[in-house]
């Protein structure tokens, strides 16, 4: 009977072309608006590293105290003293510190010209922790971290710019006037949002150019090119006092594979903060957090407010479209009360009439979904009108969005048909046949 009902539904689409067109347009426009904004929302709110996001944590230690925190919120990054203390303790299986740097880069070719390059100062664990994919070579290890090796990893995009995409592992490149040995070329890797450095960044900018040893950058007194935040009177002068200040600018990450490791690390953080209080560095009780990737992204409000608002507005629009569809379906179904009466007289149960009309609505939903797909595809090119270019470029149609568009259109239309189909099933055959 399913095929029969669907056949009847498709046939009924042709019966009232005007009514059908109105319903299909209502569903199509509603679902397209929802899907376009959802595609942006999904891009900015998705788990950027789904297979490891529950094992990667940001340790946070309150180094400012409740009086100086923003709205009582614990700082999102660490100052140098706390960051180094956590690294030295090495309580996690893998750990890294990250800060952004901006350097002038110069290739070794005679005709090479200096170019500005942005990258991250990281430790060797950065690459295995975040499963950075490599095209050539690899990252560096802890020994090289300790020995302040002049190693650098280039991204595929930067390698293309500087070396035409060739395997440049083993070659040398200058950054900020210092020579570095290229040890690895990453494949394209730019998670959205760029969770590992989202503090101080919007998280959706273009991929960086390189990754360089953090210890070497510190030795060279290379400052953060990103955000830093300080409290109190800033009386320090020079690099060493900057490192000893309460300014936060280092992003710590640890990898903890089991819940007991998480519990132990949390305990360690508390102990560390308590020790600092006892030592007189912190004039407040221990206040620490250990956030996994998604919790950290939530804390940092990574999802742009306009993305959330536009999604809500689009969903409201879709609901209005559905309400209109309910009215149109009701008119369409009740116009056929006579046919319903005949079908009931010939043996159709109420349930069969209900199912028939729900499937008829589903056929409207299919048509609306197809129109919605078309409009979504067209609308994707207009996303830049609503969002910043770097966020708009994240919106794209893939198989899951196509499937979701069709599914949403069908399910929403079927849901909208619950009441009209119920009314159709309640038609009294005797009255219909008498009135004829």
């Amino acid at each position: 009977m399913f095929a029969y009902y669907l056949q009847l539904g498709l046939r009924s689409l042709r019966r009232n072309p005007m009514l059908t067109t109105l319903m299909v347009m209502a569903i199509g426009f509603g679902v397209a608006a929802s899907m376009i904004t959802y595609s942006v929302f999904r891009a900015v709110s998705d788990d950027p590293i789904p297979n490891k996001s529950s094992q990667l944590f940001v340790p946070q230690v309150d180094g400012w105290g409740p009086q100086q925190n923003d709205n009582g919120e614990i700082p999102g990054a660490l100052n140098y003293v706390d960051a180094m203390a956590l690294m030295r303790a090495h309580k996690a299986s893998r750990q890294t510190l990250i800060y952004p740097v901006m350097l002038s880069a110069l290739g070794r070719d005679a005709d090479s010209v200096p170019t500005s390059a942005s990258g991250y100062a990281v430790t060797g664990d950065f690459f295995p922790m975040f499963e950075v994919p490599f095209l050539y070579g690899s990252g560096w290890n802890a020994d090289e971290d300790d020995h302040r090796a002049a190693d650098v990893v280039l991204t595929q995009e930067f390698n293309q710019r500087m070396f035409g995409g060739a395997n440049s592992v083993g070659k040398e490149i200058q950054f900020g006037g210092n020579t570095y040995r290229i040890v690895g070329i990453t494949k394209h890797w730019n998670p959205a949002p760029r969770f590992y450095a989202v503090w101080g960044e919007d998280g959706f900018s273009e991929a960086p150019d390189f990754y360089v040893l953090l210890n070497r950058m510190l030795d060279l007194h290379i400052d953060s090119s990103g955000r830093n935040s300080c409290r109190g009177n800033l009386t320090f002068t020079g690099w060493d006092q900057w490192l000893q200040s309460n300014c936060i600018w280092l992003m710590p990450w640890v990898e903890l594979d089991t819940s007991s490791e998480v519990a132990q690390y949390r305990q360690f953080l508390t102990s560390y903060a308590t020790d600092q209080q006892h030592a007189g560095r912190f004039g407040w009780p221990a206040n620490v957090r250990l956030l996994d990737v998604m919790a950290f992204l939530t804390q940092q409000n990574v999802v742009p407010p306009e993305s959330r608002i536009s999604l809500i507005v689009a969903l409201c629009f879709f609901v209005i479209c559905l309400v209109n569809t309910i009215g149109l379906l009701l008119a369409k179904f009740m116009r056929r009360a006579g046919e319903i009466g005949v079908r009931r007289a010939l043996g159709a149960t109420r349930r069969e009439i209900y199912t028939q009309y729900l499937l008829e609505a589903a056929s409207v939903g299919i048509a609306g979904g197809l129109l919605g797909l078309l409009l979504t595809a067209v609308g994707m090119s207009a996303v830049t009108l609503l969002f910043d270019a770097e966020i708009a470029q994240l919106a794209h149609m893939d198989l899951s969005l196509i499937a979701l568009t069709l599914l949403l259109a069908i399910l929403a239309t079927v849901a909208a048909a619950f009441y009209p189909a119920w009314r159709a099933a309640q038609v009294q055959p005797a009255w219909q046949l008498k009135s004829n």
Partner: protein, 240 residues
């Protein structure tokens, strides 16, 4: 086959109760061709819709093919309608978007019959009413008489035990009406039980038995010389 005992049907509003049928008794035997007659508003159609399980009744008993139907739920009533009853309506009630074949197929679909058997039955029924060649036509492409023949084919396709006809020739001209009536008589001769509501004396006279309804009650024509004389005269004219 169809037996109603002290049956009543009351339509109630906040201020008034209207009896459509009152202490209604009828017993139609298997194989009978019964005409139910009466003036407009007498309750003929209400009787037919209750007989066809299209409407519930307020009191009394109704046995259809030995089944007491008052306690049946919607599914059971639908199943009985589908399997035991064939309907022929005055307005034909064909579904305009379906062609002749698909119209006749409707009750068989609800019976869950396999496609080959459906096709065999549909073509058999259409052949019987002389419209096998019009299977792909739509109702709007047929004359009134042909549409009623399609409706009869639809009623016959499921091999019902009982055929209920409501003014089957009411919307037809004389020639078409005669054709439809002859078809009904032929179906009856083959053993079908037919209950036909009509206020056409000519049609009623062609039935085996007449039941007359006035004010929702069956009136015995044999005990009322006025009706008896009128119908006998009408029947005589038709036969001559």
């Amino acid at each position: 086959m169809l037996k109603m005992t002290h049956l009543s049907k009351v339509y109630r509003t906040e201020v008034v109760e209207t009896y459509a049928l009152r202490d209604f008794n009828i017993d139609v035997k298997e194989g009978e061709f019964v005409a139910v007659t009466g003036p407009s508003g007498s309750g003929k159609t209400t009787f037919l819709t209750i007989a066809g399980l299209l409407e519930t009744f307020t009191g009394g008993e109704y046995h259809l093919d030995g089944i007491e139907v008052s306690q049946l739920n919607d599914n059971a009533r639908s199943k009985i309608r589908n399997e035991k009853i064939g309907f022929i309506f005055q307005a034909f009630n064909l579904i305009p978007d379906l062609n002749v074949f698909d119209n006749v197929e409707v009750p068989l679909r609800y019976r869950g019959m396999k496609a080959p058997e459906r096709k065999e039955r549909i073509m058999g029924a259409l052949d019987r009413v002389g419209l096998a060649s019009r299977a792909k036509h739509y109702p709007a492409e047929l004359s009134g008489g042909q549409q009623q023949r399609v409706a009869i084919a639809r009623a016959l396709a499921g091999s019902p035990r009982l055929l209920l006809a409501d003014e089957p020739t009411g919307n037809l001209d004389t020639q078409m009406a005669r054709g439809v009536l002859e078809l009904l008589e032929e179906i009856h001769r083959e053993g079908a039980t037919i209950v036909m509501v009509t206020h056409d004396p000519e049609l009623a006279a062609r039935a085996q038995r007449n039941v007359h309804i006035i004010d929702g009650q069956v009136v015995d024509l044999a005990e009322d010389p006025r009706f008896h004389t009128a119908y006998t005269a009408a029947a005589g004219q038709i036969r001559s």
